[in-house]
């Protein structure tokens, strides 16, 4: 039987200082144009934690508002405030930077992340007040070191500084003197993705109503790589994060596919559960410090806040069929193959039209499509357009070509079958998966029957191939009752056939 989606979590960590110090747009600018206007102007464009919490798309991401409600908000979103906004949402939370740094310290197991004593003392209790943070995690907090020690590592030992409110409050040291794969920059990036993944895992277990001990396997699908010079992508973020989250019965591994990583990982996880290899598999993805402020130049130029100030994280819990929860239907899989090519219509064709056609369905049989859910508030000023909307227009245009949709229905297609983008531009984070939490609820509430999750990935960025990539799957209302009914009938039929065969055999014996 198909696996079911038992729950999902979505978390953000507000990290404005990492925008300045770790986002690659900014680190590149510091090398090529250190005295330029952009780096001078950027700090005044960073949002306060309160503004980040009150931001509509962030509230949708953690589950305090729906994509449909966001669609009713007048564009742009950055100058609007979500009434009743809260740090905590039904899917997760938006963690402030000072608490996140303490959590990151808890996730460091090689003493490379140092925090200043006073900073730890001032903020440890704040993290402890977060209901999701358990005693075993708090027990990992180190009391911290003197500022002079941190300054020494930053100034003399190539450590990456950790900042809060413009002050140096800690650092991530390099983990090896020569190996660039263990440099301070890489260690910083990896510890932050691990910490966001841990937070996502904790919420996922809670939201699914399962015990930590139930988890048997974790697949990490972020876009970072951990390893040393002899195996630079060796892994294993999944198991590393599961350890801190306290999932002691779990093993795991990393799956990679650029932004398509989460969709690949979910198909793999659904297959593992359906095959009976594991009863409970978690797919998790932490955030990406490199992409913080990726389009900051455009945002600053447009006189708006630098909106890419949060690390994202998500986790989806897949389990054996419980007869109730929505399922991942592995019979309807779209795949961008080596032969598909780069033409946008072929990409969408391979991911949307082809799998539906193979299953005897049309574009109208899917109630909601979740392609790349990037928040247009971020991408439009950067010249990348409204990414989800472009996807919907393509799907609609393709449907017209197939004779599934009247040309006149193109403008209404996005409204009926689409969603307004609300996810941060954290690469894999917005790719299809942000809707899974809502999809589970909408299907359970009977609002929709089928949703298609579409992941796409830019493989060419790795300079190993010019190919694009993508994979899609369908989430549907639970069919266990129907399946059992069918199985029940056939079982009786089999018994009947056996009885008939026995009678015939007996008759033939008697005849002899």
């Amino acid at each position: 039987m198909n696996s079911v989606i038992k729950g999902a979590s979505y978390i953000l960590a507000h990290t404005p200082e990492m925008v300045i110090h770790n986002g690659t747009t900014q680190t590149t600018e510091r090398i090529v144009n250190p005295d330029g206007d952009y780096l001078k102007a950027l700090p005044s464009h960073l949002r306060s934690y309160e503004d980040c919490v009150n931001y509509w798309p962030n509230q949708v991401y953690i589950g305090n508002a729906t994509p449909d409600e966001l669609a009713e908000v007048a564009f742009p979103y950055y100058d609007k405030t979500k009434e009743g906004a809260s740090r905590y949402g039904k899917f997760g939370e938006i963690m402030p930077e000072e608490e996140f740094l303490i959590l990151a310290q808890c996730c460091d197991v090689f003493e490379v992340l140092l925090l200043e004593k006073g900073f730890v003392a001032a903020n440890k209790e704040k993290l402890a007040a977060d209901p999701i943070i358990t005693e075993d995690i708090l027990a990992r907090v180190q009391e911290g070191v003197e500022l002079s020690e941190i300054e020494h590592f930053v100034n003399d030992e190539h450590a990456e500084g950790l900042y809060h409110a413009g002050q140096l409050v800690g650092c991530v040291k390099r983990a090896h003197d020569i190996d660039v794969n263990l440099s301070a920059e890489v260690m910083h990036e990896n510890i932050m993705t691990k910490a966001t993944s841990v937070l996502a895992l904790l919420y996922a277990v809670k939201n699914a109503g399962i015990s930590k001990d139930d988890v048997e396997y974790v697949i990490d699908c972020c876009e970072e790589a951990c390893g040393d010079m002899n195996q630079r992508g060796g892994g294993n973020f999944a198991k590393a994060a599961a350890e801190i989250a306290g999932l002691k019965n779990a093993t795991g591994s990393d799956a990679r596919g650029f932004c398509a990583g989460p969709s690949h990982a979910l198909v793999e996880a659904a297959s593992l559960v359906k095959a009976g290899a594991f009863k409970c598999v978690l797919v998790t993805g932490g955030g990406c410090t490199a992409k913080l402020g990726m389009n900051g130049k455009n945002h600053v130029e447009a006189g708006m806040p630098a909106l890419e100030d949060c690390l994202g994280g998500f986790c989806v819990v897949l389990m054996e069929n419980d007869g109730v929860s929505p399922e991942i239907n592995l019979d309807i899989l779209g795949r961008h193959t080596v032969g598909t090519g780069a033409a946008p219509q072929n990409v969408i064709g391979s991911l949307v039209a082809d799998p539906l056609e193979r299953a005897g369905l049309t574009i109208n049989d899917i109630d909601k499509y979740s392609p790349e859910m990037q928040n247009p508030d971020i991408t439009k000023p950067a010249g990348a357009g409204d990414v989800p909307m472009a996807n919907y227009k393509m799907i609609a245009a393709l449907a017209v070509k197939k004779g599934w949709l009247d040309r006149k229905a193109i403008p209404t297609f996005a409204k009926e079958h689409g969603l307004t983008g609300f996810a941060p531009t954290q690469g894999h984070i917005p790719s299809g998966v942000p809707y899974i939490g809502f999809a589970r609820e909408d299907i359970l509430a009977g609002k929709i029957k089928k949703a298609m999750i579409i992941g796409k990935g830019s493989l060419f960025l790795g300079r190993m191939t010019n190919l694009f990539d993508g994979i899609s799957f369908v989430i549907q209302a639970n069919t266990a009752a129907e399946a059992q009914k069918e199985a029940g009938v056939s079982e009786e039929e089999v018994k009947g056939l056996i009885a008939k065969a026995m009678k015939e055999f007996a008759a033939s014996l008697l005849a002899e």
Partner: protein, 108 residues
């Protein structure tokens, strides 16, 4: 424009002569297309890449512009770009590209 891409554009202009090089962009919006066009004609407007302050004046078009489109095999264009063309705001793209070309292209 990506810094590595700027470097390559500069190298090709030096290698083949700027009058022999044509740049074709595929940006999703008029403004982004205009920025790419400006980078390879008047120099990198973001002052970040190797083309900062370098006025190559290269001939540059967006793949959906009519002048270019009429040179392509219509079947191949339809197959590769046709549906994306329906999604893009081609008028806006043409307007941005024309403005940049009129001002900075040296070889048209």
């Amino acid at each position: 424009m990506d810094l590595e891409n700027q470097k390559r554009v500069k190298e090709f202009a030096e290698q083949y002569g700027p009058e022999n090089v044509v740049v074709v962009v595929g940006a999703a919006e008029g403004e982004a297309a205009g920025l790419a066009a400006e980078t390879v004609t008047a120099g990198d407007p973001t002052y970040a890449g190797p083309l900062t302050g370098v006025q190559l004046g290269l001939t540059v078009f967006h793949v959906c512009e009519p002048e270019l489109k009429e040179e392509f095999d219509p079947e191949v264009y339809d197959e590769q770009v046709g549906m994306m063309e329906m999604v893009l705001d081609v008028d806006d793209i043409v307007e941005e590209m024309t403005a940049i070309r009129d001002e900075y292209c040296k070889y048209l």
